[in-house]
Each structure stands twice: as C-alpha cells, then as structure tokens.
C-alpha cells in the first residue's frame, strides 16, 4: 500500500484546508478513502454517529499536481484509512504560506499519514514542518459498509436558503427544544418548526426554488412509476421529517463558506438528505428521522 501526493498551488492548498476544516466540524473520526482518481471523506451511519452519515468526494487532479497510490491489491486498488479529522485540519492549518505540501502514508512506529510542509521564511533556508498523524488501516472486509450511500427517492427536493441565516435561526431554536421539524414543498417553501408545551416557533423561507429532477438524481437513470410523479401531487403539500436539532446544527456549523450549490431532499418521516457542492467538492449529509 502506498500513497504520496503533493500540492504546490496556494489556492488548491487553501481549498483543501477549508474542506478538511469542514470535515473536522462534521465528524470527529472519519474514513479517508484513497483511489486513483478521487479522495473521499466518509462517515457511515453507525449508531455511534446517531445514524448520521456523510459522503464527501473530490477529484484528486483538481488539487494535487502529484498523486501516486497503490491500493491493497490490483483488483482492489483503494486504500481506506480511519483518522481523527481534527488532526488533519490542524496540520493543514500550519501550512498557510507553504511553498509545497506533501502527504504520504508512512509507518513510523505505527501507521501514519505524514503531512510535510515547506514554509516560506524570511531567510534563504525554508522551514520544514512535519506532522505525523496516526491512522488505522481499515481491512477490506469492512469496505462494504463504507460505500457511497444510495440517494433515496425524495418526496420533496428544494434549494436551501443562505446557510448562515439558517444556522443562526437553528441556533436560537436549539435553546427551546431538541426536536425540530423540517418541512418543505414543491412550491419553494421551507419551514423550520419547534414546538413545546409553552411555545411554538416557525421560521418560513419562501421562493427558494425546486431543482428539476435530473439535478436531484444526477446522472442516475430513474424509472419513475407514473402514479407517483411529482406533477400529480399538490405542489403545496409539505413533506416533513422530525430530526434532532443538534445534528442539523452540527451540519450547518461545518459550512463556513456558502456553497456553490445547496439542496435538500426530504423523505417523508424518514430522513433529510443535504446535497452540497463547494466549488468542485461534493458533500452529502444524511440525517435520519427521530424514532
């Protein structure tokens, strides 16, 4: 198993650092999947995560100008590593004005992802900063749990409002109750509702727009049963899901920068699926309904 990669472009490095910061906010521990074309940050829907799952994907050639990997075997040319997300983001943070950043898989007493940065300094000699991040190699038999989640057939699909606004609203609501209802319809309306014995608070977002079906399902060909096409249903009918507000808040807190594209798919009373695009990095986040 081998992996070495290098970033020399400042903008790419900053973008990669931002992605890593976001992952650190979304998942304490996550899986890094390395394949010849892509890097994925994965959180699978175990009970420990509260049923939340995450799939983040980036094309390696958009970031690295050197990228070499050799997977577990020729047929399974992939590497799955488990790491503490904050360790990676902190290491990358020290690479602010780096001439070059190298990441490689090493084995120093225990398996590590070594991040090595060459920093610009005042004098002729550069400073070299190295971080050895301990990792765990995930054996092949567990890979099946870490595959790309299936995007479910949503009842409603809607574009999200400005995430910063959504976050400040949800933050205030958290003080009232942990039980939040997200509901949306095909008329571009999204509501966030909190209800207790004493008070009921609802925030209404309007004119958000609903993505067309091909955007929702990307390139996956879908055979829609004619009876359940969206046109038949009343566009004002709300699909809703009851979720733990803290999970939504954690997701929103991870979005430091407003994404290029953000939409949300609701499966009535089952789950909410967030589909974001940060420039060229896609992030999918699934929050299950409260049982």
């Amino acid at each position: 198993m081998k992996f070495r990669a290098k970033i020399v472009d400042g903008a790419c490095l900053n973008h990669f650092t931002r992605i890593s910061n976001m992952i650190a906010k979304l998942a304490k521990t996550c899986t890094l999947r390395i394949s010849p074309d892509k890097l994925n940050f994965i959180l699978c829907d175990k009970l420990a995560n509260g049923g939340v799952s995450m799939w983040c994907e980036l094309e390696q050639e958009n970031f690295f100008n050197e990228f070499q990997m050799e997977g577990v075997s020729a047929e399974n040319n992939e590497i799955y590593l488990e790491l503490t997300s904050e360790n990676l983001s902190r290491a990358l943070k020290t690479a602010q004005n780096a001439r070059a950043l190298k990441i490689k898989l090493t084995n120093k007493h225990f398996p590590c992802l070594t991040v090595s940065v060459e920093l610009l300094s005042m004098s002729s000699s550069s400073r070299i900063v190295t971080h050895d991040i301990p990792i765990k190699v995930i054996p092949r038999k567990l890979w099946k749990d870490l595959q790309e989640p299936v995007v479910p057939d949503p009842d409603v699909s809607i574009y999200l409002p400005v995430l910063k606004t959504m976050k400040s609203v949800v933050e205030k609501m958290k003080n009232i109750s942990n039980h939040l209802v997200i509901e949306a319809n095909l008329d571009g309306e999204l509501n966030l509702k909190i209800e207790t014995e004493l008070v009921c608070v609802t925030t209404h977002f309007k004119d958000l727009g609903n993505p067309p079906l091909d955007v929702v399902f990307k390139c996956i060909p879908i055979i829609l049963a004619s009876e359940s096409t969206h046109e038949d249903r009343n566009v004002e009918h709300m699909a809703e899901v009851h979720i733990d507000i803290r999970k939504l808040l954690q997701f929103l807190a991870g979005q430091q920068v407003n994404p290029t594209k953000a939409l949300c798919n609701i499966v009535n009373n089952k789950m909410v699926h967030f589909d974001l695009l940060h420039e060229d990095v896609s992030l999918q986040y699934f929050i299950p309904a409260l049982s």
Binding site: A91, T94, C112, S121, S123, S124, S125, R127, V129, T130
Partner: protein
C-alpha cells in the same frame, strides 16, 4: 523604618508590568514582589519546582522608584537586613491588570506601594478627570526564592525573534505537555516529545526544522536534545509581546535547566525551566552544584506543609557536572518532587545559620505525582540573601569552574536572578 516599596509608572509602563504578571501566571498562582537596589523583581516558582520565572524592572524603568529594607541591629554587631517579604496571589492581581491596551490608553499614572504594618500592597490607577481606582491587596509574608543559574557557562546559546517562537508554538495543541528542542551546530528543531506520543497512539507528532540563519545568534557547542514543559514556554512568549527584544535561550545537556531570557535594558526577564534528565543520568549517583557560601539566613523560614517551603536548597541532578562541593558533610539527594521536601533538616555550616534540606529520597524511589513531574530534575534554589551587598558588587561573576577547592568558591559568586 520598615521594609517597603513605592513606585510610579506611566500607562505604557503599566502595560509591560501587566504582561510580566500575565507571563508569570503561566508558571504559578503566586509571586513575590521583591524590591532591591537592582530594581523591582517579580519572582515565582511552580508547585513542582520545575519552573521559575523572574522579571526584574530596573529603577530607571519607573517614573519613580523607592524602596527600603529594615536593618536590625543585634548585640554581636552582626546587623541583618530584612528585605520586603511579600507574596501575592495571581487571582488577586491578574484581574487588576486586565485589558492592558485600554489601561495603557486611559491611565495617566499608576502607583504601587506597600503598607507593611497592614501587610497590604496598594495599587492605584489615576485616570483623567480626577478619577482614581485603588486596590488593596493583602500579601503573605514570605521569603522570595531565587534561582542560581549561570547562563554564561551554557554550552548552547541561541537568540531568536519572538515571531519564530510564536510560529513554532502554533504547531502544538494546548494538550501537549512536553516539547523537545533538538539542536546541532547547523540546525534547530522543535518537536513534540517522543515519550508522550508513544503513550497516546492518537497523538500527532509534530516537528519544525529551522535553519540556523533565521537566528540572531546561534552557538551550539554540542548536539543536544532537551525536553521541557510546553506551557511555560508560552509564558515567555506572552511577555515578549510587550517588549520588542529578542529571546535568548541558554541550555546544556538533558537534566540541566534551560533559561529563556529577554533583556531590553530596562527590564530583564528570565524563565528557568527544568529539563528531562536522560535515563542514564538518573541511575548514576547524583552530584550537587554548590551553594553560595554567602547565603545567610536572615530570619525564620516559613514552612507550609508540603508547599512552597522557602529557603530550601534543592539540588539539580546532572551527570556530567563536575563535582563541586562546598560543604563536605552535605548529603547528596535526588529530589524530584515537592512531596519529598516535607521536612528539611536544619544544619549549621561554617558558623552561618544556613539551612540545607536533607531528604532521604533515593535514586530509585518512586515518587507520587504525575509522570511528567516525577522525571524532571529540580532546579536549584537559594533564599534571597539577607545581605545582598556583595552580590551587587559582583552581580554576574561566573562560577569558578570545576574546582573542588573551597577557596575558589569563596571568591566567586553565582549569577543570581
């Protein structure tokens, strides 16, 4: 006339003073106000005696500086001079010196004086429009400690801009307990301590290599790797933000303390940190550094059970130091934690009433306390000499080197911080 202190500072001087207090608060919860002819020294030592800080403000730093000591006449014509023994808690002082930037802007003058009759320190801030803020803080009567450490004989000396240290510090998390400094004649490396990262398999090991040309001064006598507490390193960085002087680092081999100094003519700050001794040196028989023979006991030592016993000599264990014994009868001890200093024995030497601690801790004794404390060698302390006159005459004479003869010892005196 009682021992007292009175000084006046301007707004910008208060900022430097406040930064000094903040820096010392990283080491300990208490500090001593120790005025003398040399100026006003703020001294502190941490509870495990593995770190010592001293910031000395020279008399010309202040707008006005006045101090006095009490001279006690005794029958046998041996006058003793009693200096101010004033210990303050950080909890009382830190809130007073908060928001230093706004203090610098808004105050016209700050006055600090002591009232020995009431054991109080009074700090007054004079603002515009006749507004005055007064704080009365009770102090504890306590003999200040000094560390005896000679910077000039250290094999390795570095001088760096504070910016470099600040850049290095961001590499490590606040949970990092120890860091290792590794130097060769050509380069410098600050890294997380190996011992720590071995224990915790989740800890990131970080290193920063810096070329020697980034240093203002780079003199390395031998390849060295020393390990010390990270938190205390941050303390001197806090203070360096107040002055613009570079930071000097003096060190030797593992086990011998490391000194971090800032000297900008008006203020001199010294942080002496214990370093982790090598495995080998702990096993060998410990040897002591000398005690200054001029140290005299001026008054009773206050013994606080298990904590901050003043006037006690703790010895620094160093394998490679040449044996230098002042008192032939002195027992050699390996003190590595405060718990062992519980009951010092009194010992009369050469007619002076000196106090030397004896502890029966052997090399191999397991000491309670954290792993970190157990392994650190202690530093070497002496009570502030009651008669500091001779020290003023030879303030920075270096210690006579590697000599067993007592005559040599009498001539020289240590650099005392």
């Amino acid at each position: 006339m009682a021992a007292m202190l009175k000084c006046v500072m301007s707004g910008s001087q208060v900022k430097v003073f406040g930064k000094a207090v903040q820096a010392l608060s990283r080491i300990s919860d208490e500090f001593w106000l120790d005025p003398s002819k040399k100026g006003l020294a703020l001294r502190c030592v941490n509870s495990s005696r593995s770190a010592y800080g001293c910031v000395l403000f020279s008399p010309v730093f202040f707008q006005h500086y006045q101090w006095s000591a009490l001279v006690k006449m005794s029958e046998n014509e041996l006058d003793t001079t009693l200096h101010l023994k004033c210990k303050l808690g950080m909890k009382s002082i830190l809130p007073i010196f908060r928001c230093l930037n706004s203090l610098e802007r808004n105050i016209e003058k700050c006055r600090i004086f002591t009232r020995s009759d009431k054991c109080k320190v009074v700090i007054q801030f004079f603002y515009r429009h006749g507004i005055k803020r007064t704080h009365n803080i009770c102090f504890q009567e306590s003999q200040p400690l000094q560390v005896i450490f000679d910077k000039n004989v250290c094999t390795n000396t570095l001088m760096i801009q504070p910016r470099l240290l600040a850049d290095a510090i961001v590499l490590f998390t606040s949970s990092q307990e120890e860091v290792t400094l590794a130097v060769t004649p050509l380069n410098f490396c600050l890294k997380s301590s190996n011992e720590e990262s071995m224990d915790l398999s989740n800890a990131v090991h970080s290193e920063m290599f810096v070329g020697s040309d980034e240093f203002d001064f780079f003199q390395i006598g031998m390849d060295t790797e020393i390990t010390f507490c990270f938190k205390e390193l941050k303390g001197i960085l806090t203070f360096s933000e107040a002055t613009h002087a570079p930071i000097s680092i003096y060190f030797d081999f593992p086990g011998k303390p490391l000194a971090l100094s800032i000297d900008d003519m008006l203020v001199e700050a010294n942080f002496i940190l214990a370093t982790l001794a090598d495995e080998q040196s702990r096993a060998s028989s410990p040897q002591s550094l000398c005690l200054s023979q001029k140290r005299k006991r001026s008054d009773l030592i206050e013994k606080k059970a298990g904590k901050n016993v003043t006037g006690q000599a703790l010895e620094c264990i160093s394998k490679k130091a040449a044996p230098r014994r002042l008192y032939p009868k002195e027992t050699l001890t390996n003190i590595s934690a405060l718990e062992n200093c519980g009951s010092p024995a009194m010992k009369r030497v050469d007619g002076d009433v000196s106090e030397v601690s004896e502890s029966s801790v052997s090399n191999t004794e397991e000491v309670p306390g954290s792993l970190c404390l157990r392994k650190f060698s202690c530093m070497f302390f002496g009570a502030v000499s009651s008669d500091q006159q001779e020290h003023f005459n030879h303030p920075f004479d270096s210690l006579a080197r590697a000599s067993d003869s007592e005559e040599d010892m009498n001539n020289g005196s240590f650099s005392i911080f």
